[in-house]
Protein backbone atom coordinates (compact mmCIF):
# COMPACT_ATOMS: atom_id res chain seq x y z
CA UNK A 1 0.00 0.00 0.00
CA UNK A 2 1.64 3.24 -1.13
CA UNK A 3 1.76 5.73 1.70
CA UNK A 4 0.85 9.31 0.80
CA UNK A 5 3.14 11.75 2.56
CA UNK A 6 2.51 15.48 2.78
CA UNK A 7 6.23 16.13 2.81
CA UNK A 8 5.92 19.91 2.81
CA UNK A 9 3.80 19.77 5.95
CA UNK A 10 6.24 17.42 7.66
CA UNK A 11 9.17 19.67 6.76
CA UNK A 12 7.29 22.65 8.18
CA UNK A 13 6.57 20.82 11.43
CA UNK A 14 10.26 19.95 11.67
CA UNK A 15 11.45 23.47 10.75
CA UNK A 16 13.50 22.33 7.76
CA UNK A 17 13.69 24.87 4.94
CA UNK A 18 14.13 22.51 1.99
CA UNK A 19 13.86 23.19 -1.73
CA UNK A 20 11.06 21.64 -3.75
CA UNK A 21 13.59 19.34 -5.39
CA UNK A 22 14.93 18.21 -2.03
CA UNK A 23 11.41 17.68 -0.75
CA UNK A 24 10.57 15.45 -3.72
CA UNK A 25 13.70 13.43 -3.14
CA UNK A 26 13.01 12.92 0.54
CA UNK A 27 9.39 12.11 -0.14
CA UNK A 28 10.25 9.15 -2.34
CA UNK A 29 12.99 7.92 0.01
CA UNK A 30 10.63 8.13 2.95
CA UNK A 31 8.08 6.16 0.97
CA UNK A 32 10.54 3.32 0.48
CA UNK A 33 11.59 3.28 4.13
CA UNK A 34 8.05 3.53 5.45
CA UNK A 35 7.03 0.66 3.24
CA UNK A 36 9.59 -1.44 5.02
CA UNK A 37 8.75 0.03 8.41
CA UNK A 38 5.07 -0.73 7.90
CA UNK A 39 5.97 -4.38 8.50
CA UNK A 40 5.39 -3.58 12.17
CA UNK A 41 1.72 -3.86 11.38
CA UNK A 42 2.26 -7.57 10.79
CA UNK A 43 2.86 -8.26 14.46
CA UNK A 44 1.24 -11.51 15.55
CA UNK A 45 -0.16 -12.37 18.93
CA UNK A 46 -1.39 -10.22 21.81
CA UNK A 47 0.11 -6.74 21.53
CA UNK A 48 0.92 -4.94 24.76
CA UNK A 49 2.76 -1.77 25.65
CA UNK A 50 5.66 -3.31 27.52
CA UNK A 51 7.59 -1.53 30.25
CA UNK A 52 9.01 1.91 29.63
CA UNK A 53 12.52 0.95 30.79
CA UNK A 54 14.24 -2.41 30.14
CA UNK A 55 15.11 -2.69 33.82
CA UNK A 56 11.65 -1.52 34.90
CA UNK A 57 12.95 1.58 36.68
CA UNK A 58 10.43 3.99 38.18
CA UNK A 59 10.35 6.92 40.63
CA UNK A 60 13.81 8.29 39.81
CA UNK A 61 13.87 11.63 41.62
CA UNK A 62 16.31 14.23 42.81
CA UNK A 63 16.00 16.10 46.08
CA UNK A 64 14.90 19.72 45.88
CA UNK A 65 18.28 21.35 46.50
CA UNK A 66 19.59 24.33 44.58
CA UNK A 67 22.99 23.79 42.95
CA UNK A 68 25.38 26.29 41.36
CA UNK A 69 24.41 27.35 37.86
CA UNK A 70 26.75 27.82 34.90
CA UNK A 71 28.92 30.88 34.55
CA UNK A 72 27.03 33.24 32.26
CA UNK A 73 30.11 34.30 30.32
CA UNK A 74 30.93 30.70 29.48
CA UNK A 75 27.33 30.13 28.38
CA UNK A 76 27.10 33.26 26.24
CA UNK A 77 30.51 32.58 24.69
CA UNK A 78 28.78 29.91 22.62
CA UNK A 79 25.85 32.13 21.64
CA UNK A 80 25.66 33.24 18.00
CA UNK A 81 24.44 36.61 19.26
CA UNK A 82 24.10 38.06 22.73
CA UNK A 83 23.76 41.46 24.40
CA UNK A 84 23.61 42.66 28.01
CA UNK A 85 23.37 39.13 29.34
CA UNK A 86 20.60 38.10 26.94
CA UNK A 87 20.57 35.79 23.94
CA UNK A 88 19.49 37.79 20.91
CA UNK A 89 17.29 36.39 18.16
CA UNK A 90 15.11 37.78 15.41
CA UNK A 91 11.47 38.38 16.35
CA UNK A 92 8.98 35.53 16.30
CA UNK A 93 6.21 35.84 13.74
CA UNK A 94 3.79 33.50 15.43
CA UNK A 95 2.84 33.19 19.06
CA UNK A 96 2.41 29.74 20.56
Amino acid sequence: MPIEIDIAHVARLARLDLTDEELEGYKSQLGVILDHAARVQGLQGEPHAGSAHPLGLFNAFREDEARPSLDRDEVLSQAPESADGYFVAPPALEIE
Binding site: L16, Y26, A49, G50, H53, L55, L70, P80
Partner: protein, 489 residues
Protein backbone atom coordinates in the same frame (compact mmCIF):
# COMPACT_ATOMS: atom_id res chain seq x y z
CA UNK B 1 54.20 -1.83 9.05
CA UNK B 2 51.74 -3.28 11.50
CA UNK B 3 50.00 -1.73 14.44
CA UNK B 4 51.02 -3.46 17.64
CA UNK B 5 50.02 -1.16 20.40
CA UNK B 6 49.67 -2.78 23.83
CA UNK B 7 46.37 -3.61 25.49
CA UNK B 8 45.24 -1.57 28.51
CA UNK B 9 46.17 -4.47 30.77
CA UNK B 10 49.65 -4.76 29.26
CA UNK B 11 50.22 -1.00 29.23
CA UNK B 12 49.11 -0.80 32.85
CA UNK B 13 51.60 -3.54 33.76
CA UNK B 14 54.43 -1.73 31.99
CA UNK B 15 53.54 1.58 33.66
CA UNK B 16 53.64 0.11 37.12
CA UNK B 17 56.78 -1.90 36.51
CA UNK B 18 58.55 1.22 35.28
CA UNK B 19 59.10 -0.15 31.77
CA UNK B 20 57.21 2.77 30.33
CA UNK B 21 55.61 6.08 31.24
CA UNK B 22 52.29 7.69 30.40
CA UNK B 23 54.19 10.23 28.32
CA UNK B 24 55.79 7.44 26.30
CA UNK B 25 52.43 5.80 25.81
CA UNK B 26 50.80 8.94 24.49
CA UNK B 27 53.75 9.80 22.29
CA UNK B 28 53.54 6.37 20.67
CA UNK B 29 49.85 6.91 20.08
CA UNK B 30 50.36 10.38 18.64
CA UNK B 31 53.10 9.03 16.43
CA UNK B 32 50.79 6.31 15.20
CA UNK B 33 48.17 8.92 14.45
CA UNK B 34 50.63 11.02 12.49
CA UNK B 35 51.49 8.04 10.37
CA UNK B 36 47.93 6.97 9.67
CA UNK B 37 45.59 9.89 9.88
CA UNK B 38 46.04 11.04 6.31
CA UNK B 39 44.69 7.67 5.21
CA UNK B 40 42.23 6.96 7.96
CA UNK B 41 40.81 10.30 9.09
CA UNK B 42 39.81 8.61 12.36
CA UNK B 43 40.08 11.84 14.34
CA UNK B 44 38.16 15.09 14.08
CA UNK B 45 40.27 16.58 16.81
CA UNK B 46 43.59 15.15 17.99
CA UNK B 47 44.19 17.04 21.24
CA UNK B 48 47.98 16.73 21.43
CA UNK B 49 48.39 19.49 23.99
CA UNK B 50 45.66 18.32 26.31
CA UNK B 51 46.75 14.71 26.04
CA UNK B 52 50.40 15.47 26.75
CA UNK B 53 49.42 17.55 29.80
CA UNK B 54 47.23 14.75 31.10
CA UNK B 55 50.02 12.22 30.53
CA UNK B 56 52.50 14.31 32.46
CA UNK B 57 50.02 14.68 35.30
CA UNK B 58 49.43 10.91 35.25
CA UNK B 59 53.17 10.27 35.55
CA UNK B 60 53.60 12.67 38.47
CA UNK B 61 50.62 11.17 40.23
CA UNK B 62 51.94 7.66 39.85
CA UNK B 63 55.36 8.74 41.03
CA UNK B 64 53.75 10.34 44.08
CA UNK B 65 51.92 7.12 44.85
CA UNK B 66 48.52 8.33 43.65
CA UNK B 67 47.32 5.45 41.49
CA UNK B 68 43.89 6.21 40.06
CA UNK B 69 43.17 2.69 38.85
CA UNK B 70 43.40 0.55 35.72
CA UNK B 71 42.85 3.47 33.33
CA UNK B 72 45.61 5.56 34.84
CA UNK B 73 47.85 6.98 32.09
CA UNK B 74 46.04 5.05 29.36
CA UNK B 75 45.37 6.93 26.08
CA UNK B 76 41.65 6.69 25.30
CA UNK B 77 39.85 8.30 22.35
CA UNK B 78 36.28 9.60 22.55
CA UNK B 79 33.65 9.56 19.84
CA UNK B 80 32.85 13.19 19.13
CA UNK B 81 29.29 12.97 20.45
CA UNK B 82 30.48 13.01 24.06
CA UNK B 83 30.78 16.44 25.62
CA UNK B 84 34.26 17.52 26.64
CA UNK B 85 34.41 20.84 28.44
CA UNK B 86 36.17 23.52 26.46
CA UNK B 87 37.07 21.07 23.67
CA UNK B 88 35.14 21.27 20.41
CA UNK B 89 32.33 18.69 20.25
CA UNK B 90 30.56 18.46 16.91
CA UNK B 91 28.61 15.18 16.87
CA UNK B 92 30.04 14.94 13.35
CA UNK B 93 27.74 17.74 12.23
CA UNK B 94 28.33 21.12 10.65
CA UNK B 95 25.52 22.47 12.81
CA UNK B 96 27.86 22.24 15.81
CA UNK B 97 31.02 23.45 14.10
CA UNK B 98 33.09 25.26 16.70
CA UNK B 99 30.79 24.36 19.61
CA UNK B 100 32.67 23.89 22.89
CA UNK B 101 30.48 22.51 25.68
CA UNK B 102 30.64 24.18 29.12
CA UNK B 103 30.61 20.77 30.83
CA UNK B 104 32.04 17.23 30.66
CA UNK B 105 29.89 14.18 30.05
CA UNK B 106 29.74 11.93 33.12
CA UNK B 107 31.77 9.19 31.39
CA UNK B 108 34.42 11.79 30.51
CA UNK B 109 34.57 12.93 34.13
CA UNK B 110 34.95 9.32 35.27
CA UNK B 111 37.77 8.72 32.79
CA UNK B 112 39.56 11.87 33.89
CA UNK B 113 39.07 10.95 37.56
CA UNK B 114 40.56 7.57 36.70
CA UNK B 115 43.66 9.21 35.30
CA UNK B 116 42.96 8.32 31.68
CA UNK B 117 44.62 10.40 28.96
CA UNK B 118 42.07 11.64 26.47
CA UNK B 119 43.71 11.54 23.06
CA UNK B 120 41.03 13.41 21.17
CA UNK B 121 37.62 13.22 19.52
CA UNK B 122 36.96 10.68 16.84
CA UNK B 123 34.88 10.82 13.67
CA UNK B 124 31.34 9.51 13.44
CA UNK B 125 28.30 9.45 11.22
CA UNK B 126 26.50 12.73 11.82
CA UNK B 127 24.63 12.52 15.14
CA UNK B 128 25.51 8.82 15.24
CA UNK B 129 23.15 8.06 12.36
CA UNK B 130 24.74 5.64 9.97
CA UNK B 131 26.67 2.42 9.56
CA UNK B 132 29.78 3.55 7.73
CA UNK B 133 30.89 6.99 9.03
CA UNK B 134 30.23 8.28 5.50
CA UNK B 135 27.47 10.50 6.88
CA UNK B 136 29.96 12.58 8.83
CA UNK B 137 29.72 16.30 8.11
CA UNK B 138 33.52 16.37 8.07
CA UNK B 139 34.34 13.62 5.59
CA UNK B 140 34.41 9.88 6.13
CA UNK B 141 36.90 7.66 7.93
CA UNK B 142 38.53 4.62 6.35
CA UNK B 143 39.27 1.09 7.41
CA UNK B 144 42.87 0.27 8.45
CA UNK B 145 42.43 -3.19 6.90
CA UNK B 146 41.68 -1.72 3.49
CA UNK B 147 41.58 2.03 3.06
CA UNK B 148 39.17 1.83 0.17
CA UNK B 149 36.61 0.50 2.59
CA UNK B 150 34.60 1.89 5.47
CA UNK B 151 35.43 1.12 9.10
CA UNK B 152 31.72 0.77 9.85
CA UNK B 153 29.61 3.23 11.80
CA UNK B 154 28.57 5.23 13.45
CA UNK B 155 31.60 4.87 15.78
CA UNK B 156 33.89 4.39 12.76
CA UNK B 157 36.55 6.85 13.88
CA UNK B 158 36.90 5.18 17.29
CA UNK B 159 37.12 1.74 15.68
CA UNK B 160 39.72 2.82 13.13
CA UNK B 161 41.84 4.52 15.80
CA UNK B 162 41.91 1.46 18.05
CA UNK B 163 42.57 -0.89 15.14
CA UNK B 164 45.42 1.32 13.94
CA UNK B 165 46.96 1.85 17.34
CA UNK B 166 46.27 5.58 17.40
CA UNK B 167 44.45 5.00 20.68
CA UNK B 168 44.77 2.09 23.09
CA UNK B 169 41.01 2.09 23.57
CA UNK B 170 38.06 4.25 22.73
CA UNK B 171 34.51 4.99 23.74
CA UNK B 172 31.73 4.86 21.21
CA UNK B 173 27.94 4.93 21.35
CA UNK B 174 25.58 2.20 20.20
CA UNK B 175 21.96 2.86 19.27
CA UNK B 176 21.38 0.23 16.59
CA UNK B 177 24.81 -1.39 16.54
CA UNK B 178 27.09 1.61 16.21
CA UNK B 179 29.82 0.18 18.45
CA UNK B 180 29.54 -3.49 17.58
CA UNK B 181 29.27 -3.20 13.81
CA UNK B 182 32.37 -0.97 13.38
CA UNK B 183 34.22 -3.19 15.86
CA UNK B 184 33.32 -6.16 13.67
CA UNK B 185 34.32 -4.44 10.42
CA UNK B 186 37.56 -3.17 11.97
CA UNK B 187 38.65 -6.38 13.67
CA UNK B 188 38.45 -5.23 17.29
CA UNK B 189 36.24 -5.81 20.32
CA UNK B 190 33.23 -3.55 20.90
CA UNK B 191 30.30 -3.82 23.24
CA UNK B 192 26.97 -2.27 24.10
CA UNK B 193 26.23 -2.59 27.83
CA UNK B 194 22.82 -3.15 29.44
CA UNK B 195 20.71 -0.04 28.87
CA UNK B 196 20.90 2.17 31.94
CA UNK B 197 24.28 0.98 33.21
CA UNK B 198 26.40 3.68 31.57
CA UNK B 199 25.32 7.29 32.10
CA UNK B 200 24.05 9.16 29.04
CA UNK B 201 24.58 12.55 30.67
CA UNK B 202 26.71 14.48 28.21
CA UNK B 203 26.13 12.08 25.32
CA UNK B 204 24.59 14.07 22.49
CA UNK B 205 21.33 12.21 22.13
CA UNK B 206 20.23 10.36 19.03
CA UNK B 207 17.52 7.98 20.32
CA UNK B 208 17.19 8.29 24.07
CA UNK B 209 15.65 4.89 24.79
CA UNK B 210 18.28 3.08 22.71
CA UNK B 211 21.59 4.99 23.06
CA UNK B 212 24.32 3.51 25.23
CA UNK B 213 28.00 4.39 25.52
CA UNK B 214 30.43 1.48 25.44
CA UNK B 215 34.09 0.48 24.95
CA UNK B 216 36.03 -0.35 21.78
CA UNK B 217 39.20 -2.20 22.69
CA UNK B 218 41.87 -4.54 21.41
CA UNK B 219 40.66 -7.50 23.48
CA UNK B 220 37.89 -8.79 25.73
CA UNK B 221 39.70 -8.25 29.03
CA UNK B 222 40.28 -4.59 28.14
CA UNK B 223 36.60 -4.18 27.30
CA UNK B 224 35.60 -5.48 30.73
CA UNK B 225 38.10 -3.17 32.41
CA UNK B 226 36.99 -0.08 30.52
CA UNK B 227 33.33 -0.91 31.09
CA UNK B 228 33.91 -1.12 34.82
CA UNK B 229 35.62 2.26 34.79
CA UNK B 230 32.69 4.04 33.15
CA UNK B 231 29.57 2.29 34.34
CA UNK B 232 27.57 2.81 37.53
CA UNK B 233 24.61 4.84 38.71
CA UNK B 234 24.59 8.55 37.81
CA UNK B 235 22.13 10.84 39.61
CA UNK B 236 22.22 13.15 36.57
CA UNK B 237 20.61 10.44 34.39
CA UNK B 238 17.10 9.40 35.43
CA UNK B 239 17.32 6.24 33.33
CA UNK B 240 20.47 5.17 35.16
CA UNK B 241 20.34 1.85 36.99
CA UNK B 242 20.80 2.14 40.75
CA UNK B 243 20.75 -1.52 41.75
CA UNK B 244 23.62 -4.01 42.05
CA UNK B 245 26.07 -4.22 39.15
CA UNK B 246 27.65 -7.58 38.22
CA UNK B 247 31.42 -8.06 38.18
CA UNK B 248 32.18 -8.29 34.45
CA UNK B 249 35.59 -9.90 34.93
CA UNK B 250 34.60 -12.60 37.42
CA UNK B 251 34.13 -15.40 34.88
CA UNK B 252 36.59 -14.46 32.12
CA UNK B 253 38.60 -17.65 32.62
CA UNK B 254 35.73 -20.01 33.24
CA UNK B 255 35.18 -21.25 29.70
CA UNK B 256 31.80 -22.39 28.35
CA UNK B 257 31.62 -25.93 29.70
CA UNK B 258 28.07 -26.59 30.84
CA UNK B 259 26.66 -23.39 29.37
CA UNK B 260 23.66 -23.33 27.06
CA UNK B 261 24.12 -21.23 23.95
CA UNK B 262 21.43 -20.37 21.41
CA UNK B 263 22.03 -19.65 17.73
CA UNK B 264 19.42 -17.26 16.37
CA UNK B 265 18.03 -18.81 13.22
CA UNK B 266 16.62 -15.53 11.87
CA UNK B 267 20.11 -13.98 11.75
CA UNK B 268 21.35 -15.97 8.79
CA UNK B 269 20.58 -16.65 5.15
CA UNK B 270 19.90 -14.14 2.41
CA UNK B 271 22.14 -11.12 2.57
CA UNK B 272 24.76 -12.82 4.74
CA UNK B 273 28.17 -13.30 3.10
CA UNK B 274 29.16 -16.99 2.97
CA UNK B 275 32.54 -16.31 4.61
CA UNK B 276 30.80 -14.63 7.53
CA UNK B 277 28.34 -17.48 7.98
CA UNK B 278 31.08 -20.06 7.70
CA UNK B 279 33.28 -18.35 10.26
CA UNK B 280 30.41 -17.97 12.70
CA UNK B 281 29.30 -21.57 12.25
CA UNK B 282 32.85 -22.71 12.75
CA UNK B 283 33.12 -20.83 16.01
CA UNK B 284 29.79 -22.25 17.22
CA UNK B 285 31.19 -25.76 16.62
CA UNK B 286 34.31 -24.94 18.62
CA UNK B 287 32.15 -23.68 21.50
CA UNK B 288 30.21 -26.92 21.41
CA UNK B 289 33.46 -28.82 21.41
CA UNK B 290 34.50 -26.84 24.50
CA UNK B 291 31.52 -28.14 26.40
CA UNK B 292 28.67 -25.78 25.55
CA UNK B 293 25.24 -27.13 24.75
CA UNK B 294 24.28 -25.41 21.51
CA UNK B 295 20.69 -25.14 20.28
CA UNK B 296 19.09 -23.31 17.42
CA UNK B 297 16.37 -20.91 18.47
CA UNK B 298 13.83 -18.95 16.52
CA UNK B 299 13.01 -15.43 17.64
CA UNK B 300 10.40 -14.54 15.02
CA UNK B 301 10.01 -10.93 16.06
CA UNK B 302 13.59 -10.35 14.88
CA UNK B 303 12.16 -10.22 11.34
CA UNK B 304 10.42 -6.94 12.10
CA UNK B 305 12.98 -5.53 14.52
CA UNK B 306 14.56 -3.37 11.84
CA UNK B 307 11.16 -1.94 10.95
CA UNK B 308 10.36 -1.09 14.55
CA UNK B 309 13.80 0.47 14.98
CA UNK B 310 13.33 2.68 11.94
CA UNK B 311 10.22 4.13 13.51
CA UNK B 312 11.30 4.46 17.14
CA UNK B 313 14.81 5.81 16.60
CA UNK B 314 13.87 8.51 14.07
CA UNK B 315 10.86 9.54 16.19
CA UNK B 316 13.03 10.12 19.24
CA UNK B 317 15.76 11.76 17.19
CA UNK B 318 13.32 14.16 15.58
CA UNK B 319 12.61 15.55 19.05
CA UNK B 320 16.21 15.28 20.32
CA UNK B 321 17.52 17.28 17.37
CA UNK B 322 14.88 19.98 17.61
CA UNK B 323 17.13 21.93 19.96
CA UNK B 324 19.56 22.67 17.12
CA UNK B 325 17.96 25.91 15.98
CA UNK B 326 20.75 28.48 15.84
CA UNK B 327 19.44 30.40 18.84
CA UNK B 328 21.72 29.53 21.75
CA UNK B 329 24.74 27.76 20.21
CA UNK B 330 26.10 26.29 17.01
CA UNK B 331 25.62 27.39 13.45
CA UNK B 332 23.19 30.24 12.79
CA UNK B 333 21.87 31.06 9.33
CA UNK B 334 20.43 34.35 8.20
CA UNK B 335 16.74 34.93 8.90
CA UNK B 336 14.35 37.82 9.46
CA UNK B 337 12.15 35.94 11.85
CA UNK B 338 12.91 33.30 14.43
CA UNK B 339 10.96 30.74 12.38
CA UNK B 340 12.89 31.49 9.19
CA UNK B 341 16.21 31.51 11.02
CA UNK B 342 15.55 28.14 12.63
CA UNK B 343 14.39 26.49 9.41
CA UNK B 344 17.31 27.85 7.39
CA UNK B 345 19.87 26.97 10.08
CA UNK B 346 18.67 23.41 10.23
CA UNK B 347 18.53 22.98 6.47
CA UNK B 348 22.07 24.31 6.18
CA UNK B 349 23.50 22.48 9.17
CA UNK B 350 22.08 18.95 8.83
CA UNK B 351 23.24 16.40 6.25
CA UNK B 352 20.88 14.25 4.18
CA UNK B 353 20.73 11.19 6.45
CA UNK B 354 19.90 13.29 9.49
CA UNK B 355 17.33 15.24 7.51
CA UNK B 356 15.81 12.00 6.29
CA UNK B 357 15.46 10.63 9.81
CA UNK B 358 14.04 13.83 11.23
CA UNK B 359 11.39 13.84 8.50
CA UNK B 360 10.67 10.16 9.04
CA UNK B 361 10.40 10.57 12.79
CA UNK B 362 8.24 13.67 12.57
CA UNK B 363 5.91 11.83 10.22
CA UNK B 364 5.73 8.73 12.44
CA UNK B 365 4.65 10.89 15.39
CA UNK B 366 2.29 13.17 13.57
CA UNK B 367 -1.44 13.36 14.05
CA UNK B 368 -3.20 10.47 12.41
CA UNK B 369 -0.09 8.37 11.99
CA UNK B 370 1.10 7.96 15.57
CA UNK B 371 -0.73 4.78 16.39
CA UNK B 372 -0.07 2.89 13.18
CA UNK B 373 3.62 3.73 13.21
CA UNK B 374 5.21 4.81 16.48
CA UNK B 375 2.57 3.23 18.68
CA UNK B 376 2.76 -0.04 16.81
CA UNK B 377 6.58 -0.01 16.81
CA UNK B 378 6.52 0.16 20.63
CA UNK B 379 4.24 -2.86 20.70
CA UNK B 380 6.69 -4.72 18.46
CA UNK B 381 9.44 -3.73 20.84
CA UNK B 382 7.55 -5.28 23.74
CA UNK B 383 7.09 -8.44 21.68
CA UNK B 384 10.84 -8.56 20.98
CA UNK B 385 11.47 -8.34 24.71
CA UNK B 386 9.08 -11.24 25.18
CA UNK B 387 10.94 -13.31 22.55
CA UNK B 388 14.25 -12.64 24.28
CA UNK B 389 12.74 -13.49 27.67
CA UNK B 390 11.49 -16.81 26.42
CA UNK B 391 14.85 -17.53 24.73
CA UNK B 392 16.76 -16.81 27.93
CA UNK B 393 14.62 -19.30 29.78
CA UNK B 394 16.21 -21.90 27.52
CA UNK B 395 19.78 -20.63 27.09
CA UNK B 396 22.37 -18.50 28.91
CA UNK B 397 23.48 -16.52 25.87
CA UNK B 398 22.57 -16.00 22.22
CA UNK B 399 25.06 -15.80 19.38
CA UNK B 400 25.07 -14.58 15.77
CA UNK B 401 27.24 -12.75 13.28
CA UNK B 402 27.69 -9.11 14.31
CA UNK B 403 27.16 -7.95 10.74
CA UNK B 404 25.90 -9.84 7.68
CA UNK B 405 28.95 -8.65 5.73
CA UNK B 406 32.55 -7.62 6.11
CA UNK B 407 33.65 -4.01 5.49
CA UNK B 408 32.13 -2.71 2.25
CA UNK B 409 33.62 -0.23 -0.16
CA UNK B 410 33.26 3.46 0.55
CA UNK B 411 30.48 4.82 -1.61
CA UNK B 412 28.86 1.43 -2.10
CA UNK B 413 25.76 1.97 0.03
CA UNK B 414 25.54 5.73 0.50
CA UNK B 415 22.84 6.17 -2.11
CA UNK B 416 20.69 3.31 -0.87
CA UNK B 417 19.53 4.08 2.67
CA UNK B 418 17.72 0.78 3.07
CA UNK B 419 20.81 -1.21 2.07
CA UNK B 420 22.78 0.77 4.63
CA UNK B 421 20.18 0.10 7.32
CA UNK B 422 20.44 -3.65 6.71
CA UNK B 423 23.99 -3.59 8.15
CA UNK B 424 22.38 -3.37 11.56
CA UNK B 425 20.01 -6.29 11.30
CA UNK B 426 21.93 -8.43 13.82
CA UNK B 427 22.64 -5.69 16.30
CA UNK B 428 19.32 -3.86 16.47
CA UNK B 429 17.33 -6.43 18.49
CA UNK B 430 19.47 -5.96 21.60
CA UNK B 431 19.13 -2.19 21.40
CA UNK B 432 15.35 -2.62 21.37
CA UNK B 433 15.48 -4.99 24.32
CA UNK B 434 18.12 -3.05 26.27
CA UNK B 435 20.22 -6.20 26.66
CA UNK B 436 24.05 -6.25 26.53
CA UNK B 437 25.89 -7.56 23.47
CA UNK B 438 29.53 -7.76 22.41
CA UNK B 439 31.39 -8.28 19.14
CA UNK B 440 34.60 -10.32 19.11
CA UNK B 441 36.84 -10.62 16.01
CA UNK B 442 37.20 -14.27 14.99
CA UNK B 443 38.95 -14.27 11.66
CA UNK B 444 39.29 -12.71 8.24
CA UNK B 445 37.73 -13.58 4.91
CA UNK B 446 39.71 -14.37 1.78
CA UNK B 447 40.17 -10.64 1.16
CA UNK B 448 41.74 -10.29 4.59
CA UNK B 449 38.75 -8.43 5.98
CA UNK B 450 37.73 -9.07 9.61
CA UNK B 451 34.66 -11.01 10.68
CA UNK B 452 32.90 -10.34 13.99
CA UNK B 453 31.05 -12.78 16.26
CA UNK B 454 28.25 -11.42 18.45
CA UNK B 455 27.38 -12.67 21.93
CA UNK B 456 24.13 -11.45 23.50
CA UNK B 457 23.08 -11.91 27.12
CA UNK B 458 20.10 -10.99 29.32
CA UNK B 459 19.84 -7.62 31.06
CA UNK B 460 22.69 -7.22 33.59
CA UNK B 461 24.11 -10.45 32.21
CA UNK B 462 27.52 -8.95 31.41
CA UNK B 463 29.26 -11.63 33.42
CA UNK B 464 27.85 -14.40 31.24
CA UNK B 465 28.41 -12.35 28.10
CA UNK B 466 32.09 -11.83 28.92
CA UNK B 467 32.49 -15.45 29.90
CA UNK B 468 31.38 -16.61 26.46
CA UNK B 469 33.21 -13.78 24.69
CA UNK B 470 36.50 -14.65 26.41
CA UNK B 471 36.18 -18.26 25.27
CA UNK B 472 35.37 -17.12 21.73
CA UNK B 473 38.50 -15.00 21.80
CA UNK B 474 40.61 -17.87 23.05
CA UNK B 475 39.25 -20.21 20.40
CA UNK B 476 39.63 -17.67 17.60
CA UNK B 477 43.22 -16.85 18.43
CA UNK B 478 42.85 -13.83 16.20
CA UNK B 479 46.32 -12.46 15.67
CA UNK B 480 45.91 -10.82 12.28
CA UNK B 481 46.64 -7.13 12.26
CA UNK B 482 45.64 -4.48 9.74
CA UNK B 483 48.20 -3.64 7.10
CA UNK B 484 48.54 0.12 6.89
CA UNK B 485 50.20 2.14 4.23
CA UNK B 486 52.95 4.26 5.69
CA UNK B 487 52.91 7.93 4.98
CA UNK B 488 56.09 9.92 5.06
CA UNK B 489 55.72 12.22 8.05
Amino acid sequence: MTADAPTIVEAGRRLRSGETTAVELIEAVIDSAHRTEAQLHAYLNLDREGAREAAQAADSDLAAGRDHGPLHGIPVALKDNMCTRGLETTAGSQILAGYAPPYDATVVRRLRDGGAVIVGKTNLDEFAMGSSTENSGYGTSYNPWDISRVPGGSSGGSAAAVAAGSALAALGSDTGGSIRQPASLSGIVGLKPTYGTVSRYGLIAFASSLDQIGPLTRDVADAALLLEAIWGHDPLDATSYHGAYPDPRARLDHGVDGMRIGVVSELAGDGYEPAVEAAVAGMVERLAASGAEVVELSLPTFEIALSAYYLIAPAECSANLARFDGIRYGHRAVGDTAEALMARTRAEGFGPEVTRRILLGTYALSAGYYDAFYGQAQRVRAAIQDDFASAYRQVDALVSPTSPTVAFKAGERVDDPLAMYLSDICTIPSNLSGHPAISVPIGVDDQGLPIGFQVMAPALGEQVMFQVAAEVERQADFTARPTLIEVAS
